[in-house]
Symmetry: C2
Subunit: 317 residues, 2 copies
């Protein structure tokens, strides 16, 4: 019996894939060649998870891989109706990014509470200006998105004695349903968006919801850029409907040098790095090799995405 | 019986002191008039805790107040041998600054781990440059100073799953003695200085100890500037003996615009603000009024500083 064909969307070999030598025939594709290679692949590793080539190539003719893995938490760049309707199993990188993203959110919350950006700017100007900072313990956060990343963020903020409400699509123990979100927003000092990008969540943070928030509230997005109507966030920050925001994700990535988001006072911009701690690529490679071993042995895979919903369903949802 | 004379070192009335109307004769002094007023005061509130006028005025002639309160954690600016040898009771602001300072340290640790300064600088330059960040969970910290502030810092870092060793003057349960410090420094990712400034601790962080630290380690000082030999810290950071540092306190405060510490790459400077969350002055006024009520009723005071040691001894030391 011949070994399965593993197609990798990426120019350079991902770490750890050498371990599959002899157990898979590994082929590489780029955005341009993907459509031609797709019918021959048994499995597809979308190592370049910033590409939307899969979504574009998938509807073409011919057989499709039985298994697709993306080394990311979100699957919004991959999914198209034909893929969703197929029998192909889609897995994601659940387990890799939770803790790093939770720490990154804590870093942003604390940086805003303690005005680290203000201190750095004053340092640049060589100006000593004492300011009062905000306490974090006892403040209130709403974390939007009750998947493992939202859960980790909630856990980390609670460790700092922040009172956290977690909201998801539907209510379950410890999680508020979407119907509670607007009310919770009116109470929050921190609103953290860590939701999957789906047709239900696209643009969920716009002028209406920023208007519900307190003028002292700050908004953090570590989910996907398109969860936020960016122009309306700029207005909300600029006109002080809210006190500030930090974005790690954007509708257009990378942000071009001329993008208006770079210099909105009160808005912190970082380059989609919240989940990426030293060694992350190795861990993703390791995870894929583990999944490949299960898959090639015909065993059930963890981290299977519900393609209709656009995320891995929680065990207790 | 006449009411006691409360001398306040400060131009403007501190918050909450109105509550003492009729129960104290409140007089105000500045650095210049303090020496002349001191012999007439029953109690002294050093509201301007940045002043060193008490240390200079104390040795002069005449009676001295029976009680001195400083609305700060450290008492290094007040103490002189004559004060130490006197029967005057000295109290400090124990209980007010612990949680804010602990959060501030967490903010600095997370900011350095996630390179928030780098992201802000790149944002200023409108440059998208993805970097890998450091995990905080599982990293190791040494917190130097096992008083309530050091304890709070340890608690907060542990909540972020940092492995924390706390060091004090003498070993006790949960606290390493000074003899363990050098060994612990060789293992730490984060070294946080929150010790009181005494003759035993002055200059405790200099070239020798920075050389013990790992090249990847970062140093944070929220204690007192003179705990650190600043020039040797600059050398350690500049020559990459350590990876970075954040100072909230300095030998000379405020830092003048020409001070060399403002622009050392890898060094974060903030203006002695770690403990000062919104409402801190009200809380300090509140605390003093409570202490005054105990004192004027002849009851024992909490927060009594061991003037010889230079801090409030821990209950379990």
């Amino acid at each position: 019996m011949s070994v399965p064909i593993l197609l990798v969307l990426e120019a350079d070999p991902p770490p750890r894939l050498g371990r599959l030598t002899g157990r898979a025939e590994i082929r590489y594709a780029d955005d341009r060649s993907l459509a031609a290679e797709l019918p021959h692949a048994d499995a597809l590793l979308v190592w370049d998870f910033t590409s939307d080539a899969v979504r574009h190539a998938w509807p073409g003719g011919g057989p499709r891989p039985r298994w697709v893995h993306t080394p990311s938490a979100g699957v919004d760049r991959l999914i198209c109706p034909e893929f969703t309707d197929s029998d192909t199993v889609l897995t994601n990188a659940r387990g890799i990014f939770e803790q790093p993203i939770a720490e990154y959110v804590a870093a942003l919350v604390l940086a805003m509470a303690k005005d680290v950006p203000g201190s750095l700017e004053l340092q640049r100007q060589r100006r000593w200006r004492h300011r009062e900072s905000l306490p974090v313990a006892g403040s209130r956060a709403v974390v939007v998105g009750a998947g493992p990343i939202g859960q980790a963020i909630a856990r980390t903020l609670r460790a700092l004695d922040v009172e956290v409400a977690l909201t998801g699509r539907t209510a379950r123990p410890g999680v508020h349903g979407a119907e509670d979100l607007d009310r919770l927003l009116t109470l929050a000092d921190w609103v953290v968006c860590a939701a999957p990008l789906t047709e239900a969540t696209r643009g969920m943070f716009g002028a209406r919801r920023f208007a519900l928030m307190r003028p002292s509230a700050r908004f953090v997005n570590v989910g996907r850029g398109a969860l936020v109507v960016e122009d309306e966030l700029v207005t909300a920050v600029t006109e002080r409907h809210i006190a500030g925001a930090a974005l790690d994700v954007f509708e257009e990535e990378p942000l071009g040098p001329g993008h208006r988001l770079w210099d909105v006072p009160g808005l912190i911009v970082s380059p989609h790095m919240s989940g990426d701690t030293v060694g992350w690529r190795d861990r993703l490679g390791e995870q894929f090799v583990g999944l490949f071993e299960l898959w090639s042995a015909g065993k059930p895979l963890p981290n299977v995405v519900d393609k209709k919903r656009g995320y891995v369903p929680s065990h207790d949802s």
